[in-house]
Amino acid sequence: MARLHVESTINGEAQEFLCDASQSLLDVLRDELGLTGTKEGCGTGDCGACSVLVDGRLVCSCLMLGVEASGAEIETIEGIAGEEGLHPLQNAFLENAALQCGICTPGFIVASKALLEKHPNPDESTIRYWLAGNLCRCTGYDKIIRAVQDAAAKMSHPA
């Protein structure tokens, strides 16, 4: 079977790639495009390490085919930091020691970014429910929740 030609926008830049019909978007990002910031924890939608935004919507890139990215705007962890440096969420994760091994971190940051776009001032329970699809085996979650609260506060009242 011929490989499929796909055009999409990834982190603001037009991208073309070839993929097999069976490849997930996660496989394409990591293996075809070298964007290895997006992690694979399970490959079955359970862990959230592969979280990306597709047309602004938070999804698991392991639950989507690469060819479904055709015509879509994809944002990955590589696109989160801006010209001025790290995103407030990235800083907050560092300052609050919200990561240990770090494999879950890109997924948490992408998912939290989507959360703060929808709920700029989420309470703890909103954060916990929103992030229930992101698993972390190291931190025990509390530091992650605090980092998200911290980032939310800084983003709504920039110093």
Binding site: M1, L4, D20, A21, S22, S24, G43, T44, G45, D46, G48, S51, V54, R57, L58, V59, C60, C62, L63, M64, L65, V67, E68, S70, A111, A114, L115, Y129, W130, L131, A132, G133, N134
Partner: protein
């Protein structure tokens, strides 16, 4: 060996043509909506390569309409989109409760209730809610559309009533009156990201303190979700008092035929289905009164 293919037709006729051509050629196809089951299945070691037919590019499957004439939820509409629809939230809080229980935020960004229905898992959360809400499947066939009540659509574990060459376009509903409200409750050991041990969908209509209509459906306690007419009979004409609720719960228990597994024994599930039924009716009742 055959390899995977992918097509994303732009019209109903094109989808039907692809399905029909592959039947003729003896080739396998699989319809793709949100992919939250399909992609997981594709990872299974014995999954046979096939042509994936994406139904998300059709105008019909993207319909999400809520008006006095009725409600239509297309087969490509994600749970996330449903949840953001204020009028749908008001009209069918129970169905949205079910959709909101399916997986994480990420899963809900893609997953559809129609895919959940087609996948026909005994524990599929949307199915009892769709049955309680009197959903009608809108099915595309080579000879035009046909309709079928949701309770007739799932015919076994992982089996639906679609014939070869057909696909689901969406589900539709009459617009519920203000005094008609639904509710869905499921029981899981964890509060999030778990599979139903029992699920109960209900809908009640209340006028002058009396229940004038009711539908009750149970999930995860039989090979398919079931409509429980005896539970509705126990409710209709009552004031939705404790005795009526208890009788409805008992009817759910009697119709259930659960299995024992690590998530719960037969006895446990039967007890829980009766309790959840009562609680769900109480919630729907309260909602109906608030309007």
């Amino acid at each position: 060996m055959e390899s995977y293919g992918y097509v994303a037709p732009g019209s109903i006729d094109e989808v039907l043509a692809v399905l029909n051509a592959s039947i003729g050629a003896g080739q396998m196809t699989q319809l793709l909506a949100g992919g939250s089951d399909v992609l997981v299945q594709m990872r299974m070691p014995n999954h046979q390569p096939r042509t994936i037919v994406d139904i998300k590019k059709l105008a019909e499957t993207n319909r999400l309409e809520v008006s006095a004439e009725g409600i239509y939820i297309g087969a490509a509409v994600s749970s996330a989109l449903m949840n953001e629809h204020q009028d749908l939230q008001k009209a069918m809080p129970g169905l949205l409760e079910a959709a909101d229980l399916i997986g994480s935020t990420q899963v809900q960004g893609r997953a559809t209730i129609c895919g959940n229905l087609c996948n026909a898992s005994p524990a599929g959360d949307s199915i009892p809610a769709l049955i309680a809400a009197a959903g009608i499947c809108d099915i595309a066939t080579a000879n035009g559309n046909r309709e079928m009540a949701v309770e007739d659509f799932v015919i076994g574990v992982g089996k639906n009533a679609l014939q070869q060459g057909e696909f689901l376009l969406g589900v539709k509903f009459a617009m519920p009156k203000a005094n008609t409200k639904d509710a869905y409750l499921r029981f899981t050991p964890r509060t999030e990201m778990d599979i139903a041990v029992v699920g109960v969908g209900v809908r009640v209509s209340v006028a002058n303190g009396i229940c004038t209509d009711a539908r009750v459906s149970i999930g995860a306690v039989a090979p398919t979700a079931l409509l429980v007419p005896e539970a509705a009979d126990a409710l209709i004409g009552s004031a939705l008092d404790d005795a009526a609720l208890a009788a409805a719960g008992e009817a759910c228990k009697n119709l259930s035929s659960p299995i024992s597994d690590k998530r719960g024994t037969v006895e446990y599930r039967q007890k829980v289905v009766a309790v959840l039924c009562k609680r769900a009716i109480a919630i729907a009742h309260k909602r109906a009164l608030e309007n």
